[in-house]
């Protein structure tokens, strides 16, 4: 069976598309630099096309054993300094004992 070739041409359009998917905003200089460096990295990665992988099961996980589930029990989170839930201490903004999120649906 023929080995699949995947010589991808990396250009700024491809970088911009991936950046958009990852919700990253890039400057023009960054876009150009990533197009160059990621192009070189993928050129190196293309050597994987030399390996015959027919019928090889992908190794996705680090373990062979099935995952163990722990009992579905409620473990109360300890209160923080002011008696508020401790997890809120690292929140960027808090309102009425909850995480404050910005308006996202437009005004």
């Amino acid at each position: 069976m023929a080995i699949l070739k995947c010589m991808t041409e990396v250009d700024e359009t491809l970088i911009k598309k991936a950046a958009e998917l990852a919700r990253l905003e890039l400057s023009a200089d960054e876009t150009a630099e990533y197009a160059k460096s990621i192009g070189e990295i993928l050129k190196h990665v293309d050597q994987l096309n030399q390996v015959s992988v027919d019928g090889v099961e992908p190794m996705i996980y680090g373990i062979d054993e099935p995952l163990r589930l722990r009992p579905d029990e409620v473990i109360p989170f300890p209160p923080g300094r002011d008696g508020e839930p401790k997890i809120l201490e690292s929140a960027p903004e808090v309102v009425h004992g909850g995480f404050k999120v910005p308006q996202i649906l437009g005004s």
Binding site: T8, Q47, L48, G62, S90, P102
Partner: protein, 483 residues
């Protein structure tokens, strides 16, 4: 007084105490120019040290309770990728510069329960992405003895802090070599356990199928002590393995030890002094009765390509959690954003250059139309690399090689060329992809006095063999911090 055993002897003799030792380390940290620490936990550590110093007299009759608390009064430092309740944890990123986690990583909790004192949080490459520790938002870490050189990465702060005597031992994390490389460059012992041995709960994830926590120490015996304390099943990490822990025996073995030497690890690009040091140690092992067996790991040339698809793919998924909603920074521009997409982009502008590169590459490798050609193919080659090791371990007990083709390089030497930087990891990546335990032991120095580490790799869950082989190499080498 260099190793944990020697420090405990000194506590027993009353010539020093946990408090005196801890204060001594804070003085050393204050005077250090290495930029090894991001956060120093002085009041927290002094509280721990005071309590332990009192307990040594009041509870233990002046004798260290070595069995119950094998790390009693030992000042350690922790890579800033591991959470500690109430202590800022940054991952060396602007994204988390204000993050104070509400929980403690299992590995750290176990060390502190065993009597360890935490001096502070160590500098690293941002989100553990790097091989030189130049990718930190808090500035690069300097090599312990050659200040114009890198300590290796991503656990560069850990390597430098142990070698420069800013702590007794440290925790690092290893995804593709991030413990072994800085251990080799800095001249300390660094050990990555089998994937699944030590809980990753509280370790901020980079690539979840590869990440492992491990000790960086002055001796193989110290590494075994820390390892044994940390290893084991944790209900909070479902990938921890229920396999008996068999670590802390460090009686050196050479006689009859079958040592595999993979021909693919003696490539053209390896520095002559590094090659000579590794070959010299192999000769010494042979003279001591080890059986040297040539083995082949034929997929080694594909390791870097495989790793930089698998690891970045996992990273792009893991790092999507940094969205500025529940933790981390939320800059003013994000608060003023007019859409969710814009909000995310303004928050995620706080990632550094290398982190963004890897997120973009990983997003691309997982994206529709490219997934089979990149991610799936890399995961298949990963399986073949693991099978290479399984075949080799039918003939040998351990495999040895150099940790890196070179000794510590100069700051800035590779930072503008990501691919060249990635190739630094060529010898450490295969064991990571296969989930195997591996260790770096200092064996020699080059003409400039830069450390050369030998890598030892063992079969899954055979850390006992790894430690005993490592101890033999350490004894034969007689270099490194503790010699």
């Amino acid at each position: 007084m260099k190793t944990i055993r020697e420090i405990h002897d000194a506590f027993d003799a009353g010539t020093t105490s946990p408090l005196v030792l801890t204060k001594k380390y804070f003085d050393a940290i204050a005077q250090s120019r290495h930029n090894a620490f991001i956060t120093v936990c002085e009041s927290r550590a002094l509280e721990q040290a005071n309590r332990l110093t009192d307990e040594l007299k009041s509870k233990h009759g002046g004798k260290v309770p070595r069995k119950a608390q094998p790390l009693f009064g030992i000042p350690l430092a922790i890579k800033d990728v591991l959470t500690i309740d109430g202590v800022r944890t940054t991952c060396a990123s602007k994204m988390l510069e204000n993050y104070v986690p509400p929980y403690t990583a299992t590995a750290v909790k176990k060390l502190e329960d065993a009597g360890a004192i935490t001096l502070g949080k160590l500098n690293m490459d941002e989100f553990a992405m790097g091989s030189s520790n130049e990718n930190s938002a808090f500035g690069p870490v300097l090599h312990p003895t050659h200040l114009d050189r890198v300590p290796g990465g991503s656990s560069g702060g850990s390597g430098t802090a142990v070698a420069a005597d800013l702590c007794v031992a440290a925790l690092g994390t290893d995804t593709g070599g991030s413990i072994r490389l800085p251990a080799s460059f800095c001249g300390v012992v660094g050990m990555k356990p089998t994937y699944g041995r030590i809980s990753r709960y509280g370790q901020i994830a980079f690539a979840s199928s590869l990440d492992q926590i491990g000790p960086m120490c002055r001796s193989v015996e110290d590494a075994a002590l820390l390892y044994e304390v940390m290893a084991g099943v944790d209900p909070f990490d479902s990938t921890t393995a229920n396999v008996p822990v068999n670590g802390a025996v460090t009686a050196p073995i050479t006689k009859g030890l079958r040592v595999g030497v993979p021909r693919e690890y003696f490539i053209d690009g390896i520095e002559p002094e590094v090659k000579a040091a590794i070959e010299g140690m192999i000769e010494k092992l042979k003279a001591e009765g080890a059986q040297i067996v040539p083995v082949s790991l034929p997929h080694t040339p594909y390791a870097v390509a495989t790793y930089y698809i698998v690891a970045v793919s996992e990273a792009s998924s893991n790092l999507s959690r940094f969205d500025g909603v529940r933790f981390g920074v939320r800059p003013k521009e994000a608060i003023e954003a007019r859409s969710l997409s814009e909000f995310y982009k303004k928050v995620r502008a706080n990632f550094g250059t290398e982190v963004k590169r890897r997120i973009i590459l990983g997003t691309f490798a997982l994206s529709s139309g490219y997934y089979d050609a990149y991610y799936r193919r890399a995961a298949q080659v990963r399986r073949l690399m693991r099978q290479d090791f399984e075949k080799a371990f039918e003939q040998v007990d351990v495999i040895v090689s150099a940790v890196s083709p070179s000794t510590a390089f100069k700051l800035g030497e590779k930072s503008k060329d990501p691919l060249r930087m990635y190739l630094t990891d060529i010898f450490t990546i295969p064991a990571s992809l296969a989930g195997l335990p591996a260790m770096s032991v200092p064996v020699a120095e080059d003409a400039q006095g830069l450390s050369i580490g030998m890598q030892v790799i063992a079969p899954r869950f055979q850390e006992n063999v790894l430690f005993r082989a490592g101890a033999a190499i350490e004894r034969l080498a007689q270099v490194g911090v503790a010699s």
